[in-house]
């Protein structure tokens, strides 16, 4: 295999594997921006994966599967929203319980679904003219699916909303200084509920992508810790959707390379890199003003009650 082909295959697979990471990371960025830490990403993803697969299998439509995955992910995130926003319970504990619940529930529900072939999965498409562009064509326009493009579009939209619209200001204000946001007439709880649900919908969709598009099959615990990479990625991205895209593809490339570089570098050590990176990024941004400028939400994990300061 020539160098050019090697790069094309690597980058094309990176795009495919990076998409679920990107979707879920975009969601978690919004959730955390509003001041809610949701450690239940893994649970929401696996529930989305199960819902998508079983729906696609029963109805024969992989697209309905993706919709079901997103809906179930969103519904599942409501548990965390209710516990951490309404009940003001500890967000760490609530998020962990969501992950455990998702893994347990999908494991039991998915019994008997393993090893079944899906009648139809999300089709891979090749754009007739565009795929002929040298180098970039086969990476971007050959054998990818519509969700890959949707996720890239979503980066632009979510970046724009967060930084250029009133909605974005409201989200950031609620995560930064809920009391001030409240005095401006923004409903802190409403914004937090919505952002948590957005996180759930995107995590569920990411799970669906895994089970009906990336590798159309259902296996127990098939997200395999991806949800925790998303938590790491959210920090790595400085809570910014655009850097989130960069991070998701970078980590996907590392994952893919961990197989391809096997003869030279230990795949286990390469797989540990994203987690080590996340810690290094946290150290790098921990110094004073940089931390603020980089967008770490000041009120992350802090519940809000009016008049208690």
């Amino acid at each position: 295999m020539g160098w050019e082909t090697w790069f094309i295959v690597t980058l094309s697979r990176t795009l495919a594997y990076g998409t679920p990471l990107l979707l879920a990371t975009l969601g978690e960025i919004y959730t955390e921006r509003s001041g809610v830490l949701n450690l239940g990403v893994e649970g929401m993803m696996i529930m989305g994966a199960y819902a998508a697969f079983s729906t696609a299998y029963t109805t024969g439509s992989p697209w309905l599967g993706i919709v079901a995955g997103a809906l179930v992910g969103g519904a599942f995130s409501l548990i965390h929203a209710f516990a951490s926003i309404t009940l003001k319970a500890n967000q760490v504990i609530s998020g962990l319980s969501l992950t455990m619940l998702g893994l347990g529930l999908s494991g039991v529900l998915g019994r008997g679904w393993e090893g079944r072939p899906l009648p139809a999965s999300i089709p891979e498409i090749t754009a007739p003219g565009l795929s002929k562009i040298p180098f970039l064509g086969p990476i971007l326009f050959e054998g990818q699916n519509l969700i890959v493009y949707f996720s890239i579009l979503l980066v632009v939209v979510m970046w724009y909303i967060l930084y250029r619209t009133r909605i974005g200001i409201a989200v950031r204000a609620v995560g930064e200084n809920p009391a001030a946001a409240d005095s401006l007439g923004i409903s802190v709880n409403k914004v937090r509920y919505l952002c948590t649900i957005v996180g759930g919908i995107l995590a569920g969709m990411a799970g669906g992508y895994l089970s009906v598009a990336y590798r159309p099959a259902w296996t127990e615990g098939m997200t395999g810790g991806m949800g925790w990479i998303v938590i790491a990625l959210t920090i790595f991205a400085f809570w910014n959707p655009a850097i989130g895209m960069l991070g998701a593809y970078l980590f996907a490339a590392l994952y893919h390379l961990s197989f391809r570089l096997q003869p030279w570098v230990s795949p286990e050590l390469l797989k540990a890199m994203p987690y080590a990176f996340a810690i290094i990024v946290l150290i790098a941004i921990s110094r004073g003003t940089l931390h603020k400028k980089m967008g770490a939400p000041a009120a992350l994990t802090l519940p809000y009650s009016r008049g208690e300061e």
Partner: protein, 360 residues
């Protein structure tokens, strides 16, 4: 105009101990009912499932022994977590600290060349130190740079997992294991004794019980324990009183990480007798221990009871997995539900309903 009401919800200033116990038991009961409803909806008789769990985990000698052996790592990790949680350090990393303890124990067992009598004590010391070191990294990062402890301890878990994977696939892979990803078997002097035919490695169990008592004394009766509580409950006051949050954070994480490390030593020296895949060493003990410590309301002595409870769930889960054909993840279903009902009940506990029949 305010409507006359029959009852009023008011906040309790202090929650009495019996209310805590009662509410906790109710929460667990509610979680078991919820799991039961789920089983029924899914065509599995809930009564039969719980009968199997009770019989499997408590009703036979073998089941009881499995329950206790599952409780050992939960006890050690759980006691450590109560101390970290007391200082409001969110150690989600017991899983990784446990694995590091296992790695250190395996390193000493296989490569140290120490005389037989010293081998096991050296393994426990090395395991404690390795777990403590793994816990100290997030502690220093939080105490010095203010970095979120939840995220760092969580990330350290995954680094630990891949470290073990790397060791057993690479440098430590046993030449006698013919291509399997294990280290060689430990020499017999590095294997913990068990109670007759069971898998209860009693020295670790004893260690766990002693540690639970010591941790209770530390928290309730010593100056260091007092400082830990003040840092956790009122950081402002701690600063005024001249208590060093830095030292306290380091101390709780040396203890918490070290105890998880000891649990790792027990698992490899008492059960597996070699270093093997991380999910086979731990099966999520470090995460389950979070619920164990939370349910014990951060009281080290209560961990003795709660770790046994989750020992029952783990060994009972094994039984229904085999006899009802349920997947391994069924344990997570119980864990998640119990944890969820626990945090739900937290609010309930702090309020009481008082009935008033007077018109207002």
């Amino acid at each position: 105009m305010k409507k006359p009401s029959l009852f009023r919800v008011e906040r309790r200033p202090v929650v009495p101990g019996h209310v805590v116990v009662l509410v906790s038991i109710l929460a667990i009961f509610a979680a078991l009912v919820a799991a039961g409803i789920f089983f029924e909806a899914y065509g599995i008789s809930a009564i039969r499932a719980y009968q199997l769990i009770a019989k499997g985990a408590l009703g036979s000698k073998l089941g009881l022994a499995e329950t206790v052996r599952r409780a050992i790592p939960l006890l050690l990790c759980g006691v450590g977590l109560t101390i970290a949680f007391r200082a409001l350090f969110w150690n989600i990393g017991a899983e990784g600290q446990l694995l590091l303890g296992a790695v250190a124990a395996a390193g000493v067992a296989l490569f140290s060349g120490l005389p037989d009598v010293l081998l096991l004590p050296a393994m426990f010391i090395a395991g404690f130190l390795a777990g403590a070191l793994w816990g100290l990294i997030p502690a220093v990062l939080k105490a010095r740079l203010g970095i979120n402890d939840v995220i760092t301890t969580l990330m350290m878990n995954y680094i630990a997992i891949y470290l073990v994977e790397w060791l057993i696939h690479g440098p430590w892979r046993g030449p006698s294991m013919r291509g399997f990803a294990y280290t060689d078997k430990f020499p017999s002097a590095a294997i913990l004794p068990t109670i007759s035919w069971t898998r209860i490695h009693w020295p670790t169990l004893l260690l766990g019980l002693v540690v639970a008592v010591l941790a209770y004394v530390l928290i309730a009766r010593t100056r260091a324990g007092f400082e830990i509580r003040v840092v956790g409950e009122n950081p402002e006051a701690a600063r005024f009183a001249g208590i060093s949050a830095f030292k306290t954070t380091l101390l709780v994480m040396i203890i918490s990480g070290g105890l998880a490390g000891l649990a790792g030593v027990g698992e490899v020296a008492g059960i597996h007798r070699m270093l093997l895949g991380p999910t086979r060493i731990s099966m999520g003990y470090g995460y389950t221990a979070i619920i164990v410590a939370w349910l014990a309301r951060r009281n080290p002595l209560a961990v003795i009871v709660t770790s046994l409870l989750f020992g029952i769930i783990m060994s009972g889960g094994d039984v229904i997995r085999v006899s009802l054909g349920l997947p391994f993840q069924v344990i997570n279903l119980f864990n998640g539900l119990i944890l969820f009902f626990l945090i739900g009940s937290e609010l309930l506990m702090h309020y009481r309903i008082s009935f008033s029949f007077r018109r207002q």
